[in-house]
């Protein structure tokens, strides 16, 4: 093909020492055409980023390319001298990274940093660097670029920083832009902005984009073609349309089935058992063998060859396409669980909950202001149900969870748990209450002491609460709990770092269960996990709710998880709840403009949802200095004068539903 821009053949990259190397990339072939968006999809640790870094020749010191070729146009990238490679990097090939916060130099203005790239990679514009920088800033949609030129990275929000990164990458007028998880660290509304920007830029400049992501939604939103990576290899390649409709490889099929959404409510999610195999081994069999339920005898003996399906599409599997889809239950089961219609019973209730962090200044630490992280929250949770708290990062969701558990003392308001006012309990009686409520954190790595054995970690709560009998009985219970969350008993004698992310999250759940809580705050328990592992954890949480009728406060930004397991939803913006109601009410017919924007910003795999698309401009303001009137009015597409003057009253539409918006209030 003449329009092929990048051709990669048999790329093999190894990490670590020679005796036992990690085969991070193990024979990858790719063809990227001019002007297309090519997505590289896969779980963490499958070699996506290593592929990109190999192409840029930016591997970590222990990494090396042992085999393969890569051609950018006619240039063979791996044969260039380092001097010439420097010109390609940031010239014809630009790259943007996941973490915009650490990709920029904190002590230089952004104008400087973009200018550097311009003067190195764009000889035509060397004489007019500053005006070129201005053009670039405008092209990535940064408002008021003249002023931003002289600002430092810390003065910009995450989304703005990512735009600056894109501007730097654009400075060399790249033919290929490698974007390594460019939106993973950003919120959904910002993610939507950045993805739209990338698409727009591509249309204008005709550059190709190699998009590395783990998010099926992002793939379906922007990619033209997809390659799925698994354990260092591309196992399937297809056009996005075909891939979303009928994924061929068993792994891809499972990946789709394990995605939670509202149609799978009440069903167990399909789980891909096990984990990605260790890449230190030499493979003679199919890499997916252990996790595949359609494996044949031959799969264990011969590594499957590349099987072409259509031009430019294919998969690495012994099965025929028709066979991979066999025997799958395609029928959508009816919603088994009864719809939640409100309940008179109350397990937990907050009234006007406020958490303000004082801002202190000066020698005497005078309070000059407050970060209003949580600013008057009313919540009611019925026993045995799940309330999902949804919002972007920085809106105060986590603070709500922690202040309910009194891990952060609330500034004002009341938290009643089974009628007892938690905010007024003494330290001692609060300590006794602690076994009733527990918390599961987002990051399973940080939530376990790396210096303690798993068994001790799980037993710690029982010991502190003085329950579970003597040490020996407690240990028996620890083993039971491990079994309950699907781990073997040997796990008790190991350290946390010997487990994968999903297993660690199971241990965290076991630890919380040890004290028999009735209420658990789940603080984004799956957002640090891969899709296939997320399904395992969600299944476990639902099973536990069914068995023990545990109540969850589920804090998340992932709408599809909410749709899958929550009974009620509360949407938070800047410390306040803007809309709440049952899942069906809020997700199917959102009333508040913010909820609508949030829902439409989420990239979904079915591209045609018929929903009106609301793109939000700008970023969330700082909770230290919220806008006057309705907090949302600066970003609201339908703001009127009244919104700028006062915060709208809460309108109760039904027993379960409430919205804080003038528009709704008037109706």
């Amino acid at each position: 093909m003449t329009d092929t821009l990048l051709r990669v053949q048999g790329l093999k990259t190894r990490l670590g020492d020679d005796t036992n190397p990690v085969r991070a990339v193990d024979g990858v072939d790719l063809d990227i055409r001019r002007g297309e968006t090519f997505a590289l999809l896969g779980e963490s640790g499958c070699g996506k980023s290593m592929t990109a870094l190999s192409l840029m020749r930016l591997l970590p010191p222990s990494g090396r390319i042992v085999d393969g070729q890569a051609f950018l146009g006619e240039t063979s990238l791996f044969e260039l001298a380092e001097m010439d490679m420097r010109r390609e990097r940031g010239g014809r090939m630009g790259m943007i990274f996941q973490e915009p916060m650490t990709s920029l130099n904190a002590v230089r203005t952004i104008g400087d940093q973009i200018g550097e790239s311009v003067s190195f990679h764009d000889p035509e514009n060397r004489g007019r660097v500053s005006s070129r920088v201005l053009e670039l800033l405008k092209s990535v949609g940064i408002p008021d670029p003249e002023r931003r030129l002289n600002e430092y990275p810390h003065q910009l929000s995450g989304g703005m920083k990512q735009r600056v990164m894109i501007a730097i990458a654009l400075a060399g007028k790249p033919e290929l832009l490698i974007a390594d998880e460019p939106t993973t660290a950003l919120d959904v509304t910002i993610q939507a902005q950045v993805l739209a920007l990338l698409k727009g830029l591509q249309k204008r400049t005709g550059m190709a984009i190699l998009l590395i992501t783990h998010d099926l939604g992002v793939v379906s939103a922007v990619a033209d073609r997809v390659a799925v990576m698994y354990a260092g290899q591309v196992i399937e390649q297809a056009s996005t349309k075909h891939f979303i409709g009928t994924p061929a490889h068993p792994y891809s099929r499972k990946l789709f089935q394990s995605l939670p959404d509202s149609r799978k409510r009440g069903q167990r999610l399909t789980v891909i058992d096990g984990a990605v195999p260790k890449l230190t081994q030499q493979f003679n069999q199919c890499r997916f063998l252990e996790r595949c339920d359609k494996a044949l005898k031959i799969c264990a003996q011969v590594e499957p060859p590349w099987q072409s399906i259509r031009t430019g599409e294919g998969m690495r599997c012994h099965l025929e396409v028709a066979e991979t889809t066999e025997g799958e239950d395609q029928s959508d089961q009816a919603d088994e669980r009864p719809r939640f219609t409100g309940s008179n019973e109350v397990l937990l209730e907050t009234r006007g909950l406020k958490v303000h962090f004082p801002i202190r200044q000066g020698v005497f630490k005078r309070v000059v202001g407050a970060v209003k992280a949580v600013d008057g929250i009313d919540l009611v949770i019925a026993p045995g149900h799940t309330l999902a708290l949804v919002g972007e990062s920085g809106c105060g969701k986590t603070t709500v969870g922690k202040s309910i558990l009194q891990l952060i003392p609330p500034t004002e308001g009341s938290v009643r748990f089974e009628g007892a006012e938690l905010t007024r309990l003494s330290r001692g009686s609060m300590r006794r209450r602690r076994s009733d409520m527990q918390i599961i954190f987002q990051d399973p790595v940080a939530s376990m002491n790396p210096r303690m054995l798993v068994g001790d970690i799980i037993a710690e709560g029982m010991q502190a609460q003085g329950i579970g009998g003597n040490a020996k009985q407690r240990w028996t219970r620890v083993l039971e709990l491990l079994d309950h969350v699907g781990l073997s008993e040997e796990a008790a004698d190991l350290y946390p770092n010997e487990f994968s992310g999903g297993q660690r999250q199971r241990i965290c759940i076991a630890r919380a269960l040890a004290v028999d809580p009735r209420f658990i705050v789940c603080d984004e328990p799956t957002s640090a996990l891969d899709v296939s592992v997320q399904a395992q954890i969600l299944n476990l949480l639902l099973d536990l709710q069914e068995e023990r009728s545990i109540t969850y406060l589920f804090i998340t930004h992932n709408i599809s998880v909410v749709a899958y397991l929550a009974h009620e939803v509360a949407v938070m913006y800047l410390g306040r709840i803007v809309e709440r109601g049952t899942v069906e009410e809020v997700l199917d017919a959102p009333l508040h403009p913010y909820t609508q924007a949030l829902l439409s910003a989420v990239p979904t795999i079915d591209s045609d949802t018929g929903r009106e698309i609301t793109r939000l401009e700008g970023d969330m303001p700082s909770p230290a200095n919220p806008p006057a009137g309705c907090h949302f009015h600066p970003r609201c597409p339908r703001a009127v004068d009244a919104c700028r003057k006062a915060y709208p009253e809460t309108t109760h539409l039904s027993e379960t539903r409430q919205v804080s918006c003038f528009e709704v209030g008037e109706e």
């Binding site: 891990l407 602690r434 939530s447 376990m448 210096r451 710690e460």
Partner: protein
């Protein structure tokens, strides 16, 4: 011989420290997260080499820390005391030759004559000005001019041979033990070690061990007949002084740490964990302490102690005890001035750790503060403590030298490298120059500090998690 054991304050603390170290070793061997970095230390060539060198220093210091009063074997029969008032150590006893063979004044290394000409009265009554023969150094030689060099060569050869023999035997015993432990044949084990294939770099270890043993036997052989590093102003053997100074140096390096650690760990963690007013009080304390010049504080404390000692001279039984108390006091005051650095480091770390999810989870279980500190915070800052201790050690050894040089260090009667350097100040001004005191102190101190620094690099590499992920 040994009649009465004398336990000095510092002796007691040294053995307490040894006990703590051994207990910590046993504790660490059970905990994987502590055992693994140590294994990495033991597997590095630099680590094993420096450990051997430090082992020799430690052995001398420990031998020098067992004190007693010897019974005088008065053959003359009661023209003095039978129980010596002098306190000596086991090490003194071992090298009693070095200690007792005092010359009149300066003599150069391996010399047979004094360093300066003197008037010598000849048997026939006439007086001649010449370099007099030493009383002990090379006294066995009839005719020094012709026999000296061959005698030195003979003794050196003899010493080196002995050293090689002993190291050969030691190495073989060790190889045999290793072979038994791994249940392999002796030949296999020896081959894998000599080819450098063993996991622990035994080849390097044996090499360093052999070097040290040869050095020990060579110097023992020579110093039995000569003054290996010469003598000082009052005719004392400089080699002996340098060896005796090892204990002082090691004590300052380790005891100071012992004094400083509890304060630094406790206050640092408390400040970081509790924050609020506790943090304010602790922070202000160490900022205040830090803004007083350390040397002045030490000088003031030592001067006060000196005055106390001269006013209460009768409370001390011997000079050694007096010197010992001053050494201890120096350790304490050095500890007081040096805990702030580690404390600040630990405060920062505790501030970070208290926000970790696992501490929050423990709070959510109602775990008490004390337990959170001991179970969650302390084990996670131990690596920092360890790195700080090893890094501080060499700094403290050098600090002693500097303080003694300005006369506010250890007691002038105590052997220490600082005192040796201090006295060398005057000797350097002599013509011809007396260089060996200074050189001896420098060589011994340099070897100790260099090995300690190299070891601390290895320890830091092994324990610092950020460095670990890079390889």
């Amino acid at each position: 011989m040994i009649s009465q054991l004398v336990i000095l304050w510092t002796d007691a603390l040294v053995f307490l420290l040894m006990l703590v170290a051994i207990l910590f070793g046993i504790y660490a061997s059970r905990k994987m997260h502590l055992r693994r970095p140590w294994r990495q230390v033991v597997r590095s060539r630099v680590g094993m080499g420096t450990l051997v060198v430090l082992g020799f220093y430690l052995a001398i210091a420990l031998l020098d820390s067992i004190h007693f009063r010897p019974v005088l074997e008065d053959s003359a029969g009661g023209n003095g005391t039978t129980q010596s008032a002098e306190v000596i150590s086991l090490f003194d006893e071992l090298v009693s030759g070095l200690r007792k063979r005092q010359e009149k004044t300066y003599s150069a290394p391996l010399a047979v004559q004094l360093y300066a000409k003197e008037n010598i009265e000849l048997p026939d009554g006439s007086v001649m000005r010449d370099y007099p023969r030493l009383r002990y150094g090379g006294a066995h030689l009839e005719n020094p001019e012709s026999e000296w060099s061959s005698d030195i060569l003979k003794l050196s050869g003899f010493g080196i041979l002995k050293g090689l023999l002993v190291s050969f035997i030691t190495a073989n015993i060790l190889i045999m033990l290793l072979a038994v432990r791994k249940s392999r044949s002796y030949g296999d084990e020896a081959r894998s070690i000599l080819k450098g294939h063993s996991e622990i770099p035994w080849r390097v270890t044996f090499l360093v061990l052999a070097c040290m043993l040869v050095l020990v036997f060579w110097s023992a052989e020579l110093s039995s007949k000569y003054h290996l590093l010469g003598t000082d102003k009052v005719g004392e053997d400089v080699f002996y002084q340098a060896l005796k100074s090892i204990r002082t140096g090691l004590l300052i390096g380790t005891l100071t740490t012992l004094v400083m650690l509890p304060a630094a760990i406790l206050l640092g963690i408390m400040a970081g964990y509790f924050r609020g007013w506790v943090d304010d009080v602790i922070q202000y304390t160490y900022t205040t302490l830090n803004s007083i010049p350390g040397v002045l504080l030490i000088a003031a404390a030592i001067l006060m102690l000196q005055i106390y000692m001269s006013n209460h001279a009768d409370e001390f039984n011997s000079l050694v005890e007096r010197a010992d108390l001053r050494l201890l006091f120096l350790c304490v005051i050095l500890g007081v001035t040096s805990w702030t650095g580690l404390c600040r480091l630990l405060r920062g770390e505790a501030l970070k750790l208290r926000e970790m999810d696992y501490v929050q989870a423990a709070t959510a279980f109602g775990v008490s503060h004390l337990q959170i500190i001991t179970r969650h915070i302390l084990p996670n800052v131990l690596h920092i403590v360890l790195i700080a201790v090893v890094l501080d050690f060499s700094g403290l050894v050098l600090a002693e030298a500097v303080l003694s040089y300005v006369n506010i260090g250890v007691d002038p009667t105590m052997n220490s490298w600082g005192n040796m350097i201090n006295s060398a100040r005057l000797e350097m001004a002599r013509e011809p120059i007396v260089w060996w005191s200074l050189a001896a102190a420098m060589i011994f101190m340099f070897t100790l500090v260099l090995s300690a620094n190299l070891l601390s690099d290895v320890v830091r590499d092994a324990f610092d998690p950020r460095l670990r992920s890079n390889r």
